[in-house]
Every structure is written in structure tokens, then in C-alpha cells.
């Protein structure tokens, strides 16, 4: 996972497959990142697969972030991953932007 600071905002570029194992790694890395900043944008541009276990890790990450008044937003999802969020209603929980530019604002 690469992290870049774009216009003062941390953007984490997730890659490949998000499952229980990789999701847990992402969660740990993003939590570390959120210890130093107030918000992070997760870019799903290079995510090829995701399953419910991976989704649970992202929810868990969001839960910790919300508790600490930090913001996690998501962007650049392909239609399949976007559908996972809408099917589970999680598009109501997360702030999801079509593009990285829109997420940065």
C-alpha cells in the first residue's frame, strides 16, 4: 500500500485483493497513519478483489476512526466493488467519492 500526501490530505492506495489478511494489514497501517493525522482517503483504484472479510476490516477501521473523531473516506472504486458497498448498505455508512480529486475536494 502506497501513501501519498496530496494537497495536504493523506491518500492510501490499496492494491490487489482485500481479504481478512490483507484487510487487517491495511487496518493496522491506516490506524498508524490516523495517529498522526485527522483523515485519510482510501483509494480503491487498484483493488481487484474484495470479499466480506476484507469489508469487515474496512468497517472495523471506520469504527476505530469514528471513535477517535477521525475521518476515513473512500474513492475510485470499480463498479463491482461499489456494488458490494451498495448491496450491504455500507454506501450509507462511508463517504464514497467517484474520484480521488472529488475526495480531496
Amino acid at each position: 500500500m502506497n501513501v501519498k500526501n496530496v494537497n495536504g490530505k493523506n491518500v492510501a492506495y490499496l492494491e490487489g485483493e482485500i481479504n481478512a489478511q490483507t484487510g487487517a494489514q491495511v487496518k493496522a497501517e491506516i490506524n498508524t497513519l490516523l495517529n498522526k493525522g485527522d483523515s485519510v482517503i482510501l483509494s480503491f483504484k487498484s483493488v481487484v478483489y474484495m470479499n466480506s472479510s476484507g469489508l469487515r476490516e474496512i468497517i472495523d477501521l471506520f469504527k476505530t476512526a469514528s471513535k477517535n473523531k477521525k475521518e476515513v473516506s473512500l474513492c475510485d472504486m470499480n463498479s463491482d466493488i461499489r456494488e458490494m458497498f451498495s448491496f450491504t448498505g455500507l454506501d450509507k455508512v462511508f463517504k464514497i467519492y467517484d474520484t480521488e480529486a472529488a475526495a480531496i475536494g
Binding site: 485483493e17 470479499n51 463491482d80 448491496f87 450491504t88 448498505g89 450509507k92
Partner: protein
């Protein structure tokens, strides 16, 4: 007279307009903004206003002018329908971004908005983002009140806010009479990970009520463990197509080895076209090495839509070891096989394979030609000369697709072509695409170029498009 109320925070100037504010107050907005160079956004909050005087409108235009000079944005906040009508009738609406700003609302007024299905979602989002004990208590009051619409959004808001303290409220709502409330509770229990409710959720999988089986399938997937694929697989044989579809969704979300076995077996047995298409789409989401072979076989299916789903799945995962077979299939006697084979080859980078794809162009039907041009826009290292040669084709669809593919892979070449075509191609579809490319790339002087076109362009869609972007 009432003094102008305003605040400046993090570069945002926000004026809270009172009905008794007059022109001098709105003029004061300009003075204050001019004094504060840090202001990057002006918000004019009209929450308390149910009407607007014409003088005040003139003042708003003055603020807009200032914003343009300063190159900052201006937003009109909480504008009621009456004022929107005035802005529309005076043609001023397009000058302003109009949006809601719930920070101006008292809590009770916000909860009333749960009754407005257009606003309920955004209000819920706002409340979740600002969740505190006060909001939590008010939401519990709403749930106790029993109005189904309010209860639904109260539960969704608590779920959005990740409120784990009120698990019993959500569990109780699973037994509500109203489907909307039940559905909200099912989703929230999935979001917060309440595995204890999972067995009860299974009882809703075959529900006939709208949205219930879908919500149950989604939450079961979120709460799943190693045993759930097997339990869900039984629903792949349900007589109700809707239930089979939600089981497919849930299994694809679980995405484990067992789920793949069940879905690929169902593909062999399923007869309904819509369900088979969903199976194809969802099987394509698995990483299993057998996926490519299954999708390749489906390119010859009787259903055109299923072939499209298979081609899209192949294109998404990369044609990989099947590339040479797919290239050969471009020339298949069944032109739809050729069409979808070509579409599945997106992402190819090998120059020799690209040349082979191009070599089929003169031997195939029109639909396959279009697919070849389309896929070349998604391959890397394509020589633009092939696509450029298609800009003179007699078929407008070919010219438009070629222009589109050029724009995807060769920005500067596409821009040169677009500048040539946007005012001379006889097809408005091609001209529209050309205008789009010019607007996307915004070369120096693009606005004057397009403005000059306004006097000769006859197509209303192109005129509206240009005017919408650069004004008259």
C-alpha cells in the same frame, strides 16, 4: 433593523441572513470578505428567510461579482422553494451553488426531514457525523414514538454512527411489522457485526417483503464464517428467482472456495437467463484459476447479454493465457462471438497481438469493427495511425468510436483530431465527442474556439453542452 450575523472559520465566511436584513447588510458581506484575504468560500445562509426582496437579489449579484474577482466560490445555503422560484424566474439560479447546511437547523427540525425521503439520507449522514448523547437520546425517542419512517432513519443513523450501545433496539426492530424498519435493523446489525442475530437473519432470506431478503443476504455475508456458504447454497435452488439472486450476491461477497464451487455448479444447472447472467458476473469476481476457462466457454452462449457479461469478466481479469484463443475468435463466423471476443481483450500491451487484432478489421462485420476500435482504446502502445485512418470512415459510429479511443490513449493526437472535426464533421455525434475532448483537455484559447462555433452549430445538444461549460 437587525445586524448582520456572520462568522469566519477555516477560510469559510458564512452570513446568516435574517428576513429583516436589508441591502446595506448584504453590501457589508462584500466589505467583510474584502477585508479577509483568507476567505476561500462564501456561504449565504437563508435558513430564516421565506422570501427575498429584489434589492437583496441585487446585493447577492454584487457578492457573486466579488467572488468571481477573488476567484472564490459562493454558496446559497438552506434556500426555501419560494426563493428558488425567484432565483429561477430571474435567471440567477445558475450563478450560485445551492445546497443544504444542516448546521443551521435546530435538532427537531432536522428530524422532521426524515419524513422527506429526498432529504432523509443526507440528514442522517449529518447526524451520524455529529453524533453525541443529545442526538442519541432524541433518536431513541423517535424510535419509541413508533412512526415507521422516523424509526427507519433513526436506526440507520445510529448504525451509521456505529452506535454499539443500543444493540437491543436493533434486535427488537427485527420483529417490526414494517418492512422498511426491519430492513434498516437487518443492515445495521450487519454493519456492527452482531453475529448473534445471524440465525434470525436466515429466517428473512426467503421473505416476500421488498428489500428484506436482500438486506438479510448482505448482512449474513458480512457476519459470515466458514459455515455460511453451505447454508446459503441451499437458496440457489429456491423456486423464487429473487431468492436465488440474493443467494448469488451473498456467496460472491463471501468469496471463499466453497462459495465458488456452489456458484460454478449452479451455472451448470440454472436455466433462467437473468440468473445465469448474474452467476457469470459474480463468478468473474473470484480469483480461482478456473474462472477464465468458464468465462471463455460462455462467449459462445445463446444469450447475448450473458456473452457480454463473460467478455466483461475476461476483460476485467485480463485475457491472460486465453489471449491467442480470444484473438482468433474475433474472426468467428458468429459475429457476436467476434464482438465479445474483441471486447474481452482490453489491457493488452503486446504490439504483435495488437497488430493481429487490427488485422481482423477488414474481414469482420460492422459490430466487430466497432468492438476492435473500442478495445484498441483500452490497450497500451497502440499506434494511433490505425485509429486516425478510421476518422474518414463513412460510418459515423466508427468515426465517433475512433475519436473516443484516441482520446483514451493518445490525448494530444485526439485533441488535434477533435479540433479538425468539431466544426466540420457532418455527424452531430462526432462533433459532440470532439467538443467533449476539447473541453476535457482545455487547450489555450479553447473557450474562444468553442464560442466561435456557437453561431454555426445547429445541434441543440452541442449548443447546450458548450453554453453549459463556457457560457454564451
Amino acid at each position: 433593523m437587525v445586524e448582520l450575523q456572520y462568522e469566519i472559520k477555516n477560510g469559510v465566511f458564512k452570513a446568516h441572513i435574517n428576513p429583516d436584513n436589508d441591502l446595506s447588510d448584504i453590501s457589508e458581506v462584500c466589505n467583510i470578505v474584502e477585508e479577509h484575504s483568507e476567505v476561500v468560500l462564501i456561504g449565504i445562509d437563508l435558513y430564516k428567510c421565506s422570501y427575498i426582496q429584489s434589492k437583496f437579489l441585487a446585493g447577492l449579484v454584487a457578492v457573486k461579482k466579488l467572488a468571481m474577482v477573488r476567484k472564490i466560490n459562493i454558496e446559497l445555503l438552506n434556500v426555501c422553494d419560494n426563493i428558488i422560484q425567484v432565483l429561477q424566474s430571474t435567471n440567477l439560479q445558475k450563478l450560485f451553488v445551492i445546497k443544504d447546511d444542516f448546521a443551521s437547523y435546530p435538532l427537531d427540525a432536522l428530524f422532521e426531514r426524515f419524513l422527506d425521503t429526498d432529504k432523509a439520507g443526507t440528514v442522517s449522514e449529518y447526524l451520524a457525523a455529529n453524533y453525541d448523547d443529545n442526538i442519541q437520546n432524541k433518536l431513541i425517542e423517535l424510535i419509541d414514538g413508533g412512526n415507521p419512517l422516523l424509526v427507519e432513519y433513526a436506526i440507520l443513523t445510529m448504525g451509521r454512527a456505529q452506535d454499539y450501545q443500543n444493540l437491543e433496539i436493533y434486535r427488537k426492530a427485527l420483529n417490526a411489522n414494517e418492512a422498511s424498519v426491519k430492513s434498516a435493523a437487518i443492515l445495521v446489525l450487519g454493519w456492527i457485526g452482531d453475529t448473534q442475530s445471524k440465525e434470525q437473519l436466515y429466517s428473512y432470506l426467503a421473505s416476500k417483503e421488498i428489500g428484506i431478503s436482500e438486506a438479510a443476504a448482505a448482512s449474513i455475508a458480512l457476519l459470515s464464517d466458514d459455515t455460511d456458504s453451505e447454508k446459503l447454497a441451499k437458496y440457489l435452488h429456491d423456486s423464487d428467482i429473487r431468492i436465488r439472486l440474493v443467494a448469488i450476491y451473498a456467496l460472491s461477497l463471501i468469496n471463499d472456495e466453497k462459495a465458488f464451487e456452489y456458484l460454478s455448479n449452479a451455472m451448470n444447472e440454472e436455466k433462467d437467463e437473468a440468473v445465469r447472467i448474474q452467476l457469470t458476473k459474480k463468478i468473474a469476481l473470484f480469483k480461482d484459476e478456473r474462472v477464465g476457462r468458464i468465462l471463455l466457454g460462455l462467449l459462445d452462449d445463446n444469450s447475448i447479454q450473458l456473452r457480454e457479461a463473460a467478455a466483461s469478466g475476461l476483460s476485467r481479469r485480463g485475457s491472460g493465457e486465453f489471449t491467442s484463443i480470444l484473438v482468433e475468435k474475433i474472426g468467428d463466423n458468429d459475429n457476436w462471438v467476434g464482438f465479445f471476443a474483441a471486447k474481452s481483450l482490453a489491457g493488452i500491451e503486446d504490439e504483435n497481438i495488437i497488430k493481429k487484432i487490427e488485422s481482423y478489421y477488414d474481414k469482420v462485420e460492422q459490430n466487430v469493427k466497432l468492438a476492435i476500435i473500442e478495445v484498441l482504446g483500452k490497450c497500451k502502445g497502440v499506434d494511433p495511425s490505425f485509429l486516425l485512418s478510421k476518422l474518414d470512415d463513412t460510418n459515423e459510429d466508427i468515426r465517433k468510436e475512433a475519436l473516443n479511443s484516441l482520446s483514451l490513449m493518445h490525448g494530444p493526437v485526439a485533441l488535434t483530431a477533435a479540433i479538425k472535426l468539431f466544426n466540420k464533421d457532418e455527424s452531430w455525434l462526432v462533433r459532440y465527442k470532439a467538443v467533449n475532448i476539447i473541453l476535457e483537455q482545455k487547450p489555450v484559447g479553447y473557450d474562444n474556439l468553442l464560442r466561435a462555433r456557437l453561431k454555426d452549430e445547429t445541434n441543440k445538444y452541442i449548443l447546450e453542452h458548450i453554453i453549459g461549460e463556457i457560457g454564451e
